[in-house]
C-alpha cells in the first residue's frame, strides 16, 4: 500500500498574488487544497499601541497607514470616533466634502482591486486600464491634500482647509469620464467566457457563514446580506444622498466582482450629488477648545495664536468616556473604538479592520478548491495587509 502524503506548500510572504505579506500554508492533495492556514503579522507595526502614546492629533497620521489604499476613509473613521468623544457638530459643508472625498477614495480603491484581481487572473491589460483611472482619481485627491496615499485632510472638527480652486471642475470631469471607463472593463471581463468560468461558483460564501465570520463590505453584500454602514447607521449626512446598495445572490467571486463594479457606479452617483448640492458655509466646527483656528487668523490675532499654540502643543483633552464610530470603507466596516481618560492621549484605541475579519473566512472558502482558486479567493477578499497587521 502506497502511503498518501500531502504536499505542504508555503504561499507567501513573498508571492506575487498574496497582496503584500500574507503567508498561507497550504496542504495539497495534487492541486486540491486539503487544509490552509493563513499567517499574518509580517507588517505589524503596533499602530494601536503607538496611538496610545501620541496626542489625538499626532495619532491621526498613523491611520493613513492602515489601509493604505483608502487613507481618506481611515481618517474619516478616526475623526468620527474622536468627534463622538468630543460631542461636536460638524458643519454641513464639511460633511458633504467628507462624503465626496471618501467616495472618490472608494472608487480609487475599487479600481485598484479590479486591476490587481484581473492581473491575478492573468488578464494583464485591465491592470493598466484600471491604474490609468486610479491615477486620475489620485490626482484629484492630491489637489485637496497634497498627498496621494496619506492625505490626512479630514481632521476632527471638520477639514484641514477649504477645497482648492478648480477642484470641483476636476472632480466633475473625473466622474463624467468614469462610467465610460467602467464600461471598458466590463467589455473586457464581465461577459468574457474565461473570466466567468474562473469566477462563477468559485469559493462561495453563504450568507450565514459570512455573518458568522464577521465578514463585511462588498464580500458580505455579494452573499446577499443587505448591510452597509452608510445605510444602516448613516454618518456624515449619508442619509441625504440617494444611492443603492448592490447585492449579489451566490456569494461567489463573480458576485463580488459585480458588486464592486456596481458600487463604483453608485459612488459616482454620490459624488455627483455631493458636488451639485454642496452647501456653503464653514468647514470647521464651532468648538474653539478643540478645533485650531485658520492659519491667516493666527498671523493676525493674538488670541488665535495662543489658541493655536495650546491645541497644537498641548493637544486636546476630550472628556472621560468611550466612543465607537464605524464607516463603510472600501473593504467593509472600519471601526475605531477609543477610550479617553481625560488626558491629551487616548487611553486605548481599538481598530476594527474589515480586512482582518474578511481574511478569516479565507480558509473556509478555499477548502477543497484548487491552487488557482486560492489566488482568486485572496484577491476577491480585497485584503490590505497594512490594515490586518496594524
Amino acid at each position: 500500500m502506497a502511503e498518501t502524503k500531502y504536499m505542504t506548500i508555503n504561499m507567501g510572504p513573498q508571492h506575487p498574488a498574496t497582496h503584500g505579506v500574507l503567508r498561507v500554508v497550504l496542504e495539497l492533495d495534487g492541486e486540491t487544497i486539503v487544509k490552509s492556514t493563513p499567517h499574518i503579522g509580517y507588517l505589524h507595526r503596533g499602530i494601536e499601541k503607538i496611538m496610545e502614546n501620541r496626542t489625538y492629533q499626532q495619532a491621526q497620521p498613523l491611520t493613513d497607514r492602515l489601509d493604505y489604499t483608502s487613507g481618506m476613509s481611515n481618517n474619516l473613521a478616526y475623526c468620527l470616533a474622536v468627534e463622538k468623544l468630543l460631542g461636536i457638530e460638524i458643519p454641513k459643508r464639511a460633511q458633504y466634502i467628507r462624503v465626496m472625498l471618501s467616495e472618490l477614495q472608494r472608487i480609487a480603491a475599487h479600481l485598484l482591486w479590479v486591476s490587481t484581481h484581473a492581473l491575478d487572473m492573468g488578464a494583464m491589460t485591465v491592470l493598466f486600464y484600471g491604474f490609468r483611472e486610479r491615477e486620475s482619481c489620485l490626482k484629484v485627491l492630491e489637489t485637496v491634500s497634497g498627498a496621494r496615499l496619506m492625505p490626512d485632510y479630514i481632521r476632527f472638527g471638520g477639514l484641514r482647509e477649504e477645497l482648492p480652486d478648480g477642484f470641483i471642475g476636476m472632480a466633475r470631469e473625473l466622474i463624467d469620464d468614469l462610467p465610460r471607463r467602467i464600461d471598458e472593463y466590463e467589455t473586457l471581463l464581465t461577459e468574457n467566457v474565461i473570466w466567468k468560468r474562473r469566477l462563477k461558483g468559485v469559493c462561495p460564501l453563504s450568507a450565514e457563514d459570512a455573518i458568522g465570520y464577521g465578514v463585511t463590505g462588498p464580500m458580505l453584500r455579494a452573499s446577499g446580506v443587505n448591510y452597509d454602514v452608510r445605510k444602516a447607521y448613516p454618518y456624515s449626512s449619508y442619509e441625504e444622498f440617494d444611492f443603492e446598495i448592490p447585492l449579489g445572490t451566490e456569494g461567489d467571486i463573480y458576485d463580488r466582482y459585480i458588486v464592486r463594479l456596481k458600487e463604483m457606479r453608485q459612488s459616482v452617483r454620490i459624488v455627483r450629488q455631493s458636488i451639485e448640492r454642496l452647501p456653503d458655509g464653514p468647514i470647521k466646527a464651532d468648538a474653539p477648545e478643540y478645533v485650531p483656528p485658520e492659519k491667516d487668523e493666527v498671523a493676525r490675532d493674538m488670541a488665535a495664536l495662543i489658541r493655536h499654540f495650546k491645541i497644537m502643543a498641548g493637544g486636546i483633552r476630550p472628556p472621560r468616556g468611550e466612543a465607537y464610530a464605524s464607516i463603510e470603507s472600501s473593504k467593509g466596516e472600519l471601526g475605531f473604538f477609543i477610550v479617553s481618560d481625560g488626558t491629551e492621549k487616548p487611553y486605548r484605541v481599538k481598530i476594527r479592520p474589515p480586512s482582518l475579519l474578511n481574511l478569516g473566512s479565507i480558509s473556509k472558502m478555499i477548502q477543497g478548491s484548487l491552487v488557482a482558486d486560492v489566488v482568486a479567493a485572496i484577491g476577491s477578499a480585497d485584503i490590505v495587509l497594512g490594515e490586518i497587521d496594524k
Partner: protein, 331 residues
C-alpha cells in the same frame, strides 16, 4: 565533388537559418513588449537605442552577466539540460518548414528549406512533444514545489493537447495527400489556401498551438500569479534566458507551421517567397500577442476539461467530415 557541395550547402543553410531565426526571435520579444505596451496604454521599451531597438541585445547581455544559481536540492544534470531541450526542439522544428521556393545561387538550385523530408509533419508532432520534456524536467529537477506543480501541469497539458494538435493537422494531410510540408504548400498554391477549405482545422490548430507554446490563456506551467513562475522559478541567468528564447522560438515556429499548413506558406503574388512567409508569420504572431493582451488565464482543470471533452471530439468530428467531403469531391 557533388557531395562536398551539398554538404557545404547544408551547413551554410543551417547557420544562416539559425542566425536569422534567432534574430527574429529576439525581435519578437521586442515586438511583443511594444505591442502589449500599445494595447495597455503605455510605451513599452524605448530607452535602449532608437525606439528601444537594442533592447533584446541589452536583455541578452544582462542575463549573461547575472549570477547563475543551481539550487542545492536540484538534480544537477537534468537541471542543466532542461533549457537546452526546450531550445533544441524549438529550433529544430523549424528545419522542415519551407520558407521560400527555390533560388539559384552560384549555378546551384537551392531549395529554401533545411530538410525537405517526406515525414515532415510527423517529425514536427514528435518534436513538439519532446519540447515539453524540457519544461517538465526543468520544473521537476529544480527541487522546488512550485516548480514541481508547474511541471505536473505542463505534463497534463501536453497529454491533453498533443492529441488535438495531431488531429487538427490530419485534415491538411488529407487535402494535400502528403506529409511533406513542401507538398502541402504546393497543394495550396494550385488551389485555395487550406484556411478556406478547412477553416475549423485552422481554429483548432491555433487553440491547441497556444496550449503547446504555453501562452495565455493556457500559460498553466508558468501562471505567474499562482505558481510564481512555475517551472522556471529557480532558473537564473543564461538558463532562464534560454527558456525565454526557447519560448519565443517555439512561438515563431508554431506561427511558421500555421502559415505553412493553412495560410499557403511562402506563396503569394509579386513579393518574393521569404517576404510573404515572414508577413504571414508575423500576422499570426500578432494574433498571439493580441490575445495575450485580452484574455485572462484559464484554470488548470478547465483546460483539461476543454481539451478532452470539447477539443478532442470536435477535432475528431472535423477530421471525419473533412475526409467525407474530400471523398465526395466537394473540396
Amino acid at each position: 565533388m557533388e557531395l562536398v557541395y551539398s554538404l557545404v550547402e547544408i551547413i551554410v543553410k543551417n547557420i544562416v537559418v539559425v542566425l536569422v531565426l534567432m534574430g527574429f526571435v529576439a525581435y519578437t520579444t521586442l515586438l511583443e513588449r511594444k505591442l502589449l505596451g500599445r494595447l495597455q496604454v503605455r510605451f513599452g521599451p524605448n530607452r535602449v537605442g532608437p525606439f528601444g531597438l537594442l533592447q533584446p541585445l541589452a536583455d541578452g547581455v544582462k542575463s549573461f552577466f547575472k549570477e547563475d544559481i543551481i539550487p542545492e536540492e536540484a538534480d544537477k544534470t537534468l537541471y542543466v539540460i532542461a533549457p537546452g531541450i526546450c531550445l533544441f526542439t524549438a529550433l529544430s522544428m523549424f528545419a522542415v518548414v519551407p520558407f521560400g521556393g527555390t533560388i539559384t545561387l552560384l549555378g546551384r538550385e537551392i531549395k529554401l528549406v533545411i530538410a525537405d523530408i517526406d515525414t515532415g509533419l510527423l517529425y514536427l508532432l514528435a518534436l513538439a512533444t519532446l519540447g515539453e520534456y524540457g519544461v517538465v524536467l526543468g520544473g521537476w529537477a529544480s527541487g522546488n514545489k512550485y516548480g514541481v506543480l508547474g511541471a505536473l501541469r505542463a505534463a497534463a497539458q501536453m497529454i491533453s493537447y498533443e492529441v488535438a494538435l495531431g488531429l487538427a493537422v490530419i485534415g491538411t494531410i488529407i487535402l494535400a495527400g502528403s506529409l511533406n510540408l513542401g507538398d502541402i504548400v504546393a497543394a495550396q498554391q494550385s488551389g485555395m489556401w487550406f484556411i478556406v477549405k478547412y477553416p475549423f482545422g485552422f481554429i483548432f490548430y491555433l487553440v491547441a498551438g497556444l496550449a503547446e507554446i504555453n501562452r495565455t490563456p493556457f500559460d498553466m506551467p508558468e501562471s505567474e500569479s499562482e505558481l510564481a513562475c512555475g517551472f522556471n522559478i529557480e532558473y537564473s541567468s543564461m538558463k532562464f534566458a534560454t527558456f525565454m528564447i526557447a519560448e519565443y522560438a517555439h512561438m515563431f515556429t508554431v506561427a511558421a507551421i500555421v502559415t505553412t499548413l493553412f495560410l499557403g506558406g511562402w506563396s503569394g503574388p509579386w513579393l518574393p517567397g521569404p517576404v510573404w512567409f515572414l508577413i504571414k508569420v508575423f500576422a499570426v504572431i500578432f494574433f498571439f500577442i493580441w490575445e495575450r493582451g485580452t484574455y485572462p488565464r484559464l484554470r488548470y482543470d478547465h483546460i483539461m476539461q476543454f481539451g478532452w471533452k470539447v477539443l478532442l471530439p470536435l477535432t475528431l468530428l472535423n477530421v471525419v467530415v473533412t475526409a467525407a467531403l474530400v471523398a465526395m469531391g466537394v473540396i
